[in-house]
C-alpha cells in the first residue's frame, strides 16, 4: 500500500498536521488517502461537466421551440412525463442516500451488523430505482430517436441510470470486501469513495428530476 513519494501536504497543512489528523493511521497511507480523495473528487467534477454539457444541450434545444413538450416530426403532441411515479421513484433514490450515510457512519463506529443492514438497504433501494426507471422507459409514449425531447430525456436519464447501475455493482463489491476484512476502522477509503459517488448520483438526479418533470 505504501507509496514511494513523500508529499508535503502543502495545501492541507503542515506535515505534522497531516499526521495528527490521521494519528491512528500510518503517514504514507494518510497522504495516499488524501491524494486518492482529491483525485476521486476531481473525477466527479469532470463527470459533472459531462452531465452539465448534456443539460446545456437540453435547455438549448428546449428554448429553440415555442412550446415544450414539442410537437414530434409526425405532427402529434408529445406527452408530459408522469410526475407522480417519478416522484415516488426519486424518494426511493434519495432514501438510499440516507441509508448509505448511515452505513458509513456505522462503519466508522465499527458496528458491522448495522453497517451491513444499511448497505444492503442502499443496494436494494438503488436496484429498486433502476427497476422503476425501466418501468418508466417501458410505459412512456416517447421514442429515443423520435424527437429532441426523447433524445435528451433518454440520453440524460440513461447516463444517470448507467451511473446508478455502476454504483449498485460498486456497492455490492464494497459489501463483499468489507465482510472479507479488506477495510479497517481507520482504513476504509473504498467506503468513503462509494458514499461520495452515491451522493453524487443523488445530486445529479435532483437536477434531472427538476429539469424533466417539474420545469
Amino acid at each position: 500500500m505504501a507509496v514511494g513519494t513523500l508529499g508535503a501536504g502543502t495545501l492541507s497543512g503542515s506535515h505534522d498536521e497531516v499526521v495528527a489528523r490521521y494519528n491512528d493511521v500510518d503517514q504514507a497511507y494518510a497522504e495516499q488517502r488524501e491524494n486518492r480523495l482529491l483525485g476521486f473528487v476531481l473525477f466527479l467534477v469532470s463527470d459533472v461537466v459531462i452531465f452539465s454539457s448534456f443539460i446545456f444541450a437540453y435547455l438549448y434545444l428546449r428554448s429553440s421551440v415555442p412550446n415544450w413538450p414539442p410537437i414530434a416530426a409526425g405532427g402529434h403532441q408529445l406527452p408530459r412525463f408522469d410526475v407522480a411515479f417519478a416522484g415516488v421513484n426519486s424518494v426511493v433514490l434519495f432514501g438510499s442516500g440516507a441509508t448509505m450515510h448511515f452505513a458509513l457512519e456505522n462503519w466508522k463506529h465499527q458496528k458491522k451488523g448495522r453497517f451491513n443492514g444499511w448497505l444492503i438497504a442502499t443496494i436494494v433501494l438503488g436496484a429498486g430505482f433502476l427497476l422503476g426507471q425501466a418501468y418508466e422507459y417501458h410505459s412512456v409514449q416517447l421514442a429515443w430517436s423520435g424527437s429532441t425531447m426523447g433524445a435528451t430525456f433518454f440520453t440524460l436519464t440513461g447516463m444517470h441510470g448507467f451511473h446508478v447501475f455502476v454504483g449498485v455493482v460498486y456497492l455490492i463489491t464494497l459489501l463483499i470486501q468489507a465482510n472479507r476484512g479488506v477495510y479497517t476502522s481507520s482504513k476504509y477509503f473504498g467506503l468513503t469513495a462509494g458514499t461520495l459517488y452515491w451522493h453524487f448520483v443523488d445530486v445529479i438526479w435532483v437536477a434531472l428530476f427538476y429539469l424533466f418533470y417539474l420545469m
Binding site: A2, V3, G4, T5, L6, G7, A8, G9, T10, L11, S12, S14, H15, D26, Q27, A28, E31, E34, N35, R36, L38, G39, L42, F43, V45, S46, D47, V49, I50, S52, S53, F54, F56, A57, Y60, L61, S64, V65, P70, A73, W144, S145, G146, S147, T148, G150, A151, T152, F154, T155
Partner: protein, 564 residues
C-alpha cells in the same frame, strides 16, 4: 512550514526497480518512461500529419489541383488537423513534457496515480490507430471541427473519428486529473506555490483545463456518435435539433484547448529564457498568475468562433471584448520575457533560438488573433485563408516552436546526450524561414478572398499558393534535420552530464537520464529557482554521479571564449 531535509522518514522509501522488458519499457508506470512513450508515439503521428500537410501543399500547387480528388482532399485536411491537435500537440506537451519534466521539477518520485498514467498513455496510440483506420472506410471530411450537418452526412469514417477523439479525450481528462493531484499534493517540502517553476505553473493551468473542458468535448462527441449511429436527434435541424448546439459544445472545449496547446509552450519558454539569458526571470508572479488568468478567460470566449453562425448582436460585444482582454495576460508574458532578455548574457543555443523565434511568430499570430476578435473583421475573414494563416502562426509558430525548444532544452536530461548544435541551428533556420514562407502568404490569400478547405481555387491565387508550397518543403527539411539530429545523437552524441546548461531547476540536480526513483532523498526547497546570483535553493540534495568516467562540469561558452 518546516523546511528540513528528512531522509528516512516513513513513506520516503524507494520502490524496487521494475524488472523485465515489458514492465520497464512497454507497460511501465514510471512517469519518465511514459513521457518518452508519448514523445515517440507523438513523433510518429507528427510524421504522418506532416506528410498529410505536404499532400495538401502539393495539391494546391495547381489551381485545378494536382494529386487528390476533392473528396480525398477533404479527408486529408480533416485528418491532418485532428492529428496535429489531438495526437501531436496536446499529447506531446501535456503527456510528454508534462510527464517527464513536471514530477522532476516538483521534486516527486512519480505522479499521484502511476497506474492511471499508464492507462492514459495506452489509450493514446489506440486512439491514433482508430483515427487513421478511418481512411479505410472513408475519412471524415468536415474539417477538424466536424460541424453538423456535414458531419452527419459524412462517410462512415466520421463515426470512427468520434470514437478516436472520444478516447483521446478520456485520456486527456485522466491525465489532467492525475497531474492536478500530483501538483497540489506531491510537491517537495518547502515548495510553496510561488516556488514552483513556471513550467509547473503552466502545467497546472493546463491540467485544470484538460480535466474540465475535455469532458465537454466528450459530451459533444457522444451526442454526435449517438446521432450518427442510433439516429438520435441532437444536431439535425430537420428533426428539431440544432447544428449551432454542436458549435457551442465543441468550442466550449476547443477554445480552452488552444490554451491547453500553448500554455505548456509558454512554460517551456519561461524555463529556457532565464537559463540562457543567465538572469532571473522578470515578473515571476505576473507570468505565473497570467497563466491562471488565461485559463479562466479561455472559458468565456468560445462564441468568438461563431460570429458568422448567427448569434444575437448584443451577445457579440461581450465575446469580442473578453477575447481582446486575453491579449493582456499574454502581453504580460511577452513583455516579461523580453525584460528577462534585456541586459542578459545571452547564449544562443538551439533551444534559445527556438524560444526567440517563438516570440516573433507567436506574437504575430496573437496580433492577428486580436484582429479576428473584432466582429467586423471576423465577418470578412471568417472561413478564408487568413484564418488558416492565423491558426498556424499560433499552433506551429507557438506550440510546435515551444515543443522544439523544449526538445533541444531537455533532450540531454532525457537521454544523457547532447544534440548537435550545428545541425540544430540548421534545423532552426530552415524551419523558421520555411514556416514564415509557408504561412505568411496565407494571410494575403485570405484577404484576397481565397476560402479555406477547397481542393481547387481561382487561378489568380496561384502565385502565393506556389510560394507557400515551395517554402513548406524548406520547413519539412528543417524538421527532418530534427529526427536526423536525434538519431545521430542517440548513437554517438556527446555525454551531457547532469547539468549541461547550468540550469537551476530541480530536474538538473540529478543525473541524466535520471534514475528510476528520481531523487535519492526528496530535497527541501527554499526559494524559487530563478535567482542566478545566489546558491541553489535546495537542501538535502544527494547528487548521484552516473557510473563511468566523470563528465565535464558546466562552463558558459562566453566565459572561456569558446565557440559552438
Amino acid at each position: 512550514m518546516a523546511v528540513a531535509a528528512h531522509p528516512g522518514v516513513a513513506g520516503d522509501h524507494i520502490h524496487p526497480a521494475p524488472e523485465g522488458f515489458i514492465r520497464k519499457y512497454v507497460f511501465s508506470i514510471d512517469h519518465k518512461v511514459i513521457g518518452l512513450q508519448y514523445f515517440i508515439t507523438g513523433g510518429l503521428f507528427f510524421i504522418i500529419a506532416g506528410l498529410l500537410a505536404e499532400a495538401i501543399r502539393v495539391q494546391l500547387i495547381k489551381p485545378s489541383g494536382l494529386i487528390l480528388s476533392p473528396g480525398a482532399y477533404n479527408g486529408v485536411y480533416s485528418v491532418h488537423g485532428s492529428t496535429m491537435v489531438w495526437l501531436v500537440i496536446i499529447p506531446v506537451l501535456t503527456g510528454g513534457f508534462g510527464n517527464f519534466i513536471m514530477p522532476l521539477q516538483i521534486g516527486a518520485r512519480d505522479v499521484a496515480f502511476p497506474w492511471l498514467n499508464m492507462l492514459s498513455f495506452w489509450m493514446f496510440p489506440v486512439a491514433g490507430a482508430i483515427l487513421f483506420s478511418s481512411f479505410i472506410v472513408g475519412a471524415p471530411d468536415a474539417g477538424w471541427t466536424e460541424y453538423p450537418p456535414i458531419s452527419l452526412q459524412g462517410p462512415p469514417g466520421t463515426t470512427v473519428w468520434t470514437v478516436a477523439i472520444f478516447l483521446i479525450g478520456i485520456s486527456s481528462t485522466m491525465t489532467g486529473l492525475n497531474f492536478v493531484v500530483t501538483m497540489l499534493k506531491m510537491r517537495a517540502p518547502g515548495m510553496t506555490f510561488t516556488r514552483m517553476t513556471l513550467f509547473v505553473w503552466a502545467s497546472l493551468a493546463t491540467a485544470v483545463m484538460n480535466m474540465v473542458a475535455t469532458a465537454a468535448l466528450s459530451a459533444a462527441l457522444l451526442a454526435l456518435f449517438l446521432e450518427r449511429v442510433f439516429d438520435v436527434p441532437f444536431y439535425d435541424p430537420a428533426r428539431g435539433g440544432s447544428p449551432i448546439l454542436w458549435q457551442h459544445m465543441f468550442w466550449f472545449y476547443s477554445h480552452p484547448a488552444v490554451y491547453i496547446m500553448v500554455l505548456p509552450a509558454f512554460g517551456i519558454i519561461s524555463e529556457v529564457f532565464p537559463t540562457f539569458a543567465r538572469k532571473p526571470i522578470f515578473g515571476y508572479k505576473m507570468i505565473a498568475f497570467s497563466s491562471i488568468l488565461i485559463a479562466l478567460l479561455s472559458f468565456m470566449v468560445w462564441a468568438h468562433h461563431m460570429f458568422t453562425s448567427g448569434m444575437a448582436p448584443w451577445l457579440q460585444l461581450p465575446f469580442m471584448i473578453i477575447t481582446m482582454i486575453i491579449a493582456v495576460p499574454t502581453g504580460i508574458k511577452i513583455f516579461s520575457w523580453l525584460a528577462t532578455l534585456w541586459g542578459g548574457k545571452i547564449w544562443f543555443t538551439t533551444a534559445m533560438m527556438f524560444s526567440l523565434g517563438f516570440i516573433l511568430t507567436f506574437t504575430f499570430g496573437g496580433i492577428t488573433g486580436v484582429f479576428l476578435a473584432a466582429v467586423p473583421v471576423d465577418l470578412q475573414a471568417h472561413g478564408t485563408y487568413f484564418i488558416v494563416g492565423h491558426l498556424h502562426y499560433v499552433l506551429v509558430g507557438g506550440s510546435v516552436m515551444g515543443i522544439l525548444s523544449g526538445i533541444y532544452y531537455w533532450f540531454p536530461k532525457m537521454t544523457g546526450r547532447l544534440l548537435s548544435e550545428k545541425i540544430g541551428h540548421w534545423n532552426f533556420w530552415l524551419f523558421f524561414v520555411g514556416f514564415n514562407g509557408t504561412f505568411l502568404p496565407m494571410h494575403w490569400l485570405g484577404l484576397l478572398g481565397m476560402p479555406r478547405r477547397v481542393a481547387t481555387y481561382d487561378p489568380r491565387f496561384q502565385f502565393w499558393n506556389d510560394v507557400s508550397s515551395a517554402f513548406s518543403f524548406v520547413m519539412a527539411v528543417g524538421l527532418l534535420l530534427l529526427f536526423i539530429n536525434i538519431a545521430i545523437s542517440l548513437r554517438k552524441g556527446k555525454r551531457s552530464g547532469a547539468n549541461p546548461w547550468g540550469a537551476r531547476t530541480l530536474e538538473w540536480t540529478i543525473s541524466s537520464p535520471p534514475p528510476y526513483y528520481n531523487f535519492k532523498h526528496i530535497p527541501a526547497v527554499l526559494k524559487n529557482p530563478y535567482e542566478f546570483s545566489e546558491p541553489l535553493p535546495y537542501l538535502g540534495l544527494d547528487n548521484e554521479q552516473p557510473p563511468g568516467p566523470p563528465v565535464p562540469t558546466f562552463t558558459h561558452p562566453t566565459e572561456v571564449g569558446a565557440t559552438r
